[in-house]
């Protein structure tokens, strides 16, 4: 290993850490936006518990549930099932993406007062 290897390693870890810190402290979201092919097709509240489907109910493309304020993808007909394996999401701007089906679930809104940002 050369000296510059350590510089590179340090830089990489710092960037990852900074990126991570920008993303933490997310607040609990209030609603789920469902996008297919980049168009918003459905908006649900995170308090509307139940099971939902994209496509036909008997042969769904994707099925997902909302419970305890969390959204989880239960089934998808895509080959890799990455969206199914992903953990349930609940915080603002978290997302679950199914690339093969071009479906994206995005959590939006925050519980706290929206004017927080301009409070002095």
């Amino acid at each position: 290993m050369k000296r510059y290897d350590f510089y590179l390693a340090g830089a990489v870890i710092l960037i990852a850490l900074a990126w991570f810190l920008l993303n933490v402290n997310k607040e609990q979201g209030t609603k789920v936006c469902v996008y297919i092919n980049n168009t918003l097709v459905n908006t649900l509240s995170l308090s509307d518990d139940g099971e939902y489907f994209i496509g036909d109910k008997d042969m769904p493309i994707i099925s997902y549930t909302i419970s305890n304020g969390k959204l989880d993808v239960k089934y998808s007909d895509c080959p890799d099932k990455l969206c199914v394996h992903q953990k349930a999401i609940s915080k603002s701007s978290e997302s679950i993406v199914c690339l093969p089906n071009k479906v994206m679930f995005l959590i939006e809104g925050s519980v706290s007062n929206e004017f927080d940002a301009i409070g002095y």
């Binding site: 290993m1 050369k2 850490l17 990126w19 990455l82 690339l99 994206m104």
Partner: protein, 171 residues
């Protein structure tokens, strides 16, 4: 040993063998369910072959073998989306490794880390374009760190391979 001075037919045969080796690694990886609790992360074993090629031959040969490997493994074990992502990641990571090697500041570890990190970042950027939403950037730090760690592992393995090749292989 100087692989650069091989005649064209011998070189073609060697590059063919390297392509098959990289392809075999790609397949091997689909058999090992490496689950770190995060979807989409894998070791990148076939990158050891590409990294060795970069040292044994040059950028051109490594790039050709990498593209052949991506297309073949995509058609055999994957799908069109997979090919798209792998191609973008593969080409950008090759460029990153080539630049890192050319500036002569880094050892094989630095070169491999640059390759791993740029591979993952490129795939994230492509994903952001396909989905057309930058909010999947939550994934960024995870991908950077995983690229870093896999880059280290790949460099460690490649170092052994290169050492053995230099000691034992007579062409």
């Amino acid at each position: 040993m100087n692989l650069m001075q091989l005649d064209i037919s011998k070189k073609t045969a060697y590059l063919g063998l390297f392509t098959v080796l990289a392809l075999a690694f790609s397949y091997l990886e689909t058999l090992i369910p490496l689950n770190f609790g995060i979807p989409g992360i894998k070791l990148g074993l076939s990158n050891t072959v590409i990294l060795c090629l970069l040292f044994l031959f040059s950028f051109k040969e490594a790039l050709i073998v990498n593209i052949a490997r991506i297309l073949l493994s995509g058609f055999l074990f994957g799908n069109m989306y997979g090919i798209l992502y792998s191609l973008a990641g593969g080409i950008v990571s090759m460029l990153a490794m080539w630049l890192a090697k050319r500036c002569k500041l880094f050892s094989i570890y630095g070169i491999s880390i640059a390759g791993g990190v740029f591979h993952n970042i490129t795939q994230l950027v492509v994903a952001a374009f396909v989905i057309n939403n930058l909010k999947i950037s939550m994934y960024g730090p995870v991908l950077i760190i995983s690229g870093f760690v896999t880059g280290l592992i790949v460099a460690y393995i490649s170092k052994f391979i290169l050492k053995s090749v230099e000691t034992y292989v007579r062409l």
